[in-house]
């Protein structure tokens, strides 16, 4: 694996390179200082008015450096999660700098090397990092033109750039020859001379993903593939539940097993370390067999989970109270919807490597937030944050807050016990299934009234949910830190405020509703550990709102697409709705037995990408099996950087959301989770994959980037429910649509 050393080596090379800008860049600033600001929970010191995350990190050379020999390095605080962000950021930089994308080296999230951009989450990366890099690159290009103008004694207006150089007639001044000192160590300006979108040559074109070849050829591409000199392997033995207490532990024989190096125990945190990985697995099993636990019943019975959540104390947040004039309602509808706990379910269980060396703890991690993780690890370990370094190294897709941070903490705890030895911890399948924080179970209720013209005049909506955010920076948010002899208790959960929202994300419909009240019932107490799962509450809120919209459309005897357009004033929303309907051939084939079409729309967070999805399903009455036959999506993501990257995200979102919606719910009984592998928590398999999925992009050149990573989750769920209603006349209001539920609804 090169990730551990290549950055250091290349940094050294850069430092050695005479005249490199890098020399002017103090390694002490700005990240460590900034990070401390972040970790004090106040957030970084913002410079208002600067585009994207330039507001968090305003110095241009924090983002872009040019070495004397011409090498261009771009820095982002965001991480590659398989969403293709590296490629898109390189495209943005290459376009504005006028260089070939292959000449740009991109360094991603590292607490000792990149800006602090918080988490790679919320479909924010293009808006925050993409915008920052776009403007930084444009401003660097302007500086380079200015330097060339001064050197040539020519007006800057007459100079052009191309192929990594400033051009003046026949004269070509390579970028590397123009920078000799501190030229880029300047603060960004609020405005940039961006390229005219009509001249884009890299943005908006498909550049093959830079990370794919290594992944397909067996190169070291993941933290799982990291092999350091003298590295040991560890496995963690967890309690059977969070409430369990250790009665007895027989560990002596385990330490005498082949290859076993050490049993590490700190309170309820148990780990075994071995020379070889499989020796660690075997010793881990033996240690688990030697542990006796008292495991009290603490979980509510699963069939009563929604009643249980209803009974828990909730804080009420009114997030919309609109009272505009409208006629009286003549017909009122009510409905309630439910969503069970669901897993991130990464295919590769979480993994990390930690190494305590010369007083510094270095952790290679697939965490979504290296800076917040560093704060949490530093607190847990009692170390100064600057002596903890977190380097993002890819893992399997995470889709939110999975076990990444927790396994990093596991590795760090074991590494602390064995200074000088790199420690690799990989969770086993059941570790991931049992201990990752789930997407919360949720309930929504709504009531709406239609006027005589079939228009919605009253809208009342409540969403009841736990938090969707239990990520670091607190040590108490790291799973193993709760199990230590001196435990770090989890902090009091808090809701994420609007306009982004957490459980109430997308709870406010984008439709024109004259009288509307939306309330978020935030339930602090968590029966099961939960956190951010791709799209957070938007999945459930869009499922609920867009399902109910179809119920209202039926009551108004109006076509569902026409009903949406009747209530939608946003021009861009209307265009994606109409595009999806047209490309699908809405309403599709209405004649086939057991087949039906469904439609849904949302603008993610009411701030991100617009997505409309039409789908066709087939329902098998005898078995209750719902099959997604085909789906057509239309998406407006603002300025498109990587069209195929967006298509890939939306296609994937549709299939993943279909899997959640048709199959997935975490199960539990008495005192433990019972979803422990893929047989007890089934997900989409090839036999059920749709026949066709199409994604159509509505181009908006020059408009701000709108994140797309989570845009498909909610609309897919509702489109499926609406298609089932169309196909067989039943309204499914509880996710997932298991065969048992479908058969019950059909009366089979």
């Amino acid at each position: 694996m090169t990730a551990c050393t290549s950055q250091d080596v290349s940094r050294r090379n850069l430092l050695k390179a005479g005249g490199a800008l890098f020399l002017s860049f103090s390694l002490m600033r700005p990240y460590d200082l900034l990070a401390q600001g972040v970790e004090s929970a106040a957030g970084p010191v913002k410079v208002p008015g600067l585009p994207g995350d330039l507001a968090k990190e305003p110095m241009l050379d924090a983002w872009i450096r040019i070495a004397a020999e011409g090498g261009i390095t771009v820095f982002t605080g965001k991480a590659e999660l398989g969403q293709g962000i590296k490629t898109a950021l390189i495209q943005v930089a290459a376009e504005q700098l006028d260089v070939d994308p292959s000449l740009i080296r991109l360094v991603t999230a590292d607490t000792h090397g990149t800006p602090n951009e918080g988490f790679t989450a919320g479909s924010h990366s293009m808006q925050e990092s993409g915008t920052a890099i776009m403007h930084a690159a444009a401003q660097v290009r302007e500086i380079l033109i200015g330097l060339a103008a001064a050197r040539l004694g020519l007006p800057a207006d007459g100079l052009r750039t191309g192929e990594g150089a400033v051009l003046a007639g026949e004269t070509r001044l390579p970028y590397g020859a123009l920078v000799s000192g501190h030229e880029l160590h300047v603060q960004a300006q609020p405005h940039s001379r961006l390229k005219d979108p009509s001249t884009h040559r890299v943005i908006g074109r498909d550049l093959p993903r830079v990370d794919i070849p290594a992944k397909l050829m067996g190169a070291a591409a993941y933290v799982h593939d990291l092999r350091l000199p003298g590295m040991l392997h560890a496995r963690i033995v967890r309690p059977p539940s969070d409430a369990a207490r250790l009665i007895a532990l027989e560990a002596g024989a385990v330490e005498r097993m082949p290859g076993a190096v050490r049993v590490v125990r700190d309170g309820l945190f148990l780990a075994v370390v071995a020379e070889r990985e499989f020796q660690a697995v075997v010793a881990g099993r033996a240690l688990a067999a030697g542990a006796r636990w008292n495991n009290p019943t603490t979980l509510p019975p699963q069939p009563e989970i929604f009643a249980h959540l209803e009974a828990l104390r909730a804080d009420e947040h009114v997030i919309l109270d609109r009272q505009e004039s409208a006629g009286p309602g003549v017909r009122t509808l009510e409905a309630a919807y439910r969503r069970h706990y669901q897993l991130h379910g990464s295919i590769g269980p979480s993994c990390a490597v930690a190494w305590l060396q010369d007083g510094t703890m270095t952790v290679w991690t697939h965490s979504q937030g290296v800076y917040p993780l560093r704060a949490a690890l530093a607190e847990m370990l009692g170390m100064p944050p600057e002596q903890v370094r977190c380097i993002h190294t890819e893992g399997a897709g995470c889709y939110g807050h999975n076990g990444a941070d927790d396994v990093a903490a596991d590795a760090a705890l074991v590494a602390r016990a064995l200074p000088g030895r790199p420690i690799r911890v990989q969770w086993m399948r059941e570790d991931e299934h049992l201990w990752e924080p789930y997407g919360p179970a949720m309930l929504t209720r709504m009531r709406a009234a239609l006027d005589a013209e079939g228009r919605i005049v009253d809208w009342a909506y409540t969403v009841r949910s736990n938090t969707h955010l239990t990520r670091p920076p607190g040590a108490g948010q790291l799973l193993p830190a709760r199990h230590l002899a001196q435990p770090f208790p989890p902090p009091e959960p808090k809701p994420i405020p609007q306009p982004e929202g957490g459980g109430d994300r997308n709870a406010i419909p984008l439709y024109a509703l004259p009288r509307a009240r939306v309330v978020h019932h935030f339930v602090p107490e968590m029966p099961l550990r939960v956190s951010a799962l791709r799209s957070l509450g938007a999945y459930m809120n869009v499922f609920s709102i867009e399902s109910f919209l179809d119920e209202l459309a039926a009551a108004a005897n109006t076509d569902p697409v026409a009903f949406r357009l009747k209530h939608m004033e946003d021009r861009r929303a209307r265009e994606v709705i109409m595009t999806a309907a047209e490309r699908f051939g809405w309403p599709g084939d209405r004649q086939r037995e057991g087949r039906g079409s469904g439609f849904a729309f949302a603008r993610y967070k009411n701030l991100g990408a617009y997505a409309a999805i039409a789908c066709e399903v087939e329902v098998e009455r005898e078995t209750g099996r719902v099959r997604l036959v085909r789906a057509v999506a239309a998406v407006d993501a603002g300025q498109v950087v990587s069209p195929d990257g967006i298509r890939n995200q939306i296609e994937g979102g549709i299939l993943q959301s279909a899997s959640w919606t048709l199959y997935e719910q975490a199960t539990f009984a008495e005192n433990q989770i019972t979803s422990r592998d893929w047989s007890t928590y089934p997900i989409l398999r090839f036999a059920s994959v749709p026949e066709r999925v199409e994604v159509h992009l509505v181009e908006r050149p020059g408009e701000p980037f709108l994140g797309t990573g989570e845009a498909a989750q909610g609309p897919t769920a509702a489109a499926l429910a609406n298609a089932v209603a169309y196909a067989v006349g039943i309204r499914l209001r509880e996710v997932p649509f298991t065969q048992t539920r479908v058969k019950a609804a059909l009366g089979v």
């Binding site: 999660l81 398989g82 969403q83 293709g84 093959p208 993903r209 990370d211 794919i212 070849p213 290594a214 992944k215 397909l216 050829m217 067996g218 190169a219 070291a220 591409a221 993941y222 799982h224 593939d225 092999r227 082949p258 070889r276 990985e277 499989f278 697995v281 075997v282 379910g345 990464s346 295919i347 590769g348 269980p349 890819e394 893992g395 399997a396 897709g397 889709y399 990989q426 086993m428 399948r429 195929d644 890939n648 995200q649 296609e651 994937g652 979102g653 549709i654 299939l655 993943q656 899997s659 592998d677 893929w678 047989s679 997900i683 989409l684 398999r685 090839f686 036999a687 994959v689 999925v693």
Partner: protein, 165 residues
């Protein structure tokens, strides 16, 4: 000590005979292609070829492997010279996080060796043991169809340059 043949090379491995092949590939031979996913044969991330047939390396103890021919992702091609199925996956950009893809490629390779011109239903049935969580299925299917269109998939019986760990 157990002797196994991987990508045409003989290796003498000092490991307990019960050790699953996956751990020997990754930990002893430093081959990254096969991935740990579940250890239960439920996800296919660890899929390799044993005598040309797809096998879960997480469930196959090395004790049963002497005398048999093991092919891993690394045996199909290199970054400089990707194999036919790998090329097709790149052409279709058939990956998101990519963690499941090596297993997909191995099973697709086994399918195309057995059935050079599979029907859509045969492809889907053959790929059913493999899980993808990113939802890249449509592209994976397209990549397999593309690889099939490119003609017969080589069987790689001999030593392949550049695959020695």
């Amino acid at each position: 000590m157990i002797r196994i043949s991987v990508n045409g090379y003989e290796h003498t491995v000092d490991a307990d005979p019960a050790t699953p092949l996956l751990y020997v590939l990754r930990d002893h031979l430093a081959l990254n292609g096969a991935k740990f996913g579940c250890g239960l044969g439920q996800c296919g991330a660890c899929t390799v070829l044993v005598d040309g047939k797809a096998a879960f390396s997480c469930l196959t103890p090395i004790s049963v492997l002497p005398g048999r021919r093991i092919t891993t992702l690394e045996g199909l091609g290199t970054p400089e010279e990707p194999g036919q199925v790998q090329k097709a996956f790149i052409a279709e950009q058939a990956a998101q996080c990519g963690y499941c893809i090596p297993g997909m490629i191995m099973r697709a390779h086994a399918l195309l060796q057995a059935r050079p011109d599979p029907s859509e239903a045969e492809i889907r049935a053959a790929m059913d043991p493999q899980l993808c969580r990113c939802g890249t299925h449509m592209r994976i299917l397209a990549a397999i169809r593309r690889a099939a269109r490119e003609g017969a998939v080589p069987s790689y019986v001999g030593t392949i340059e550049g695959t020695r760990p």
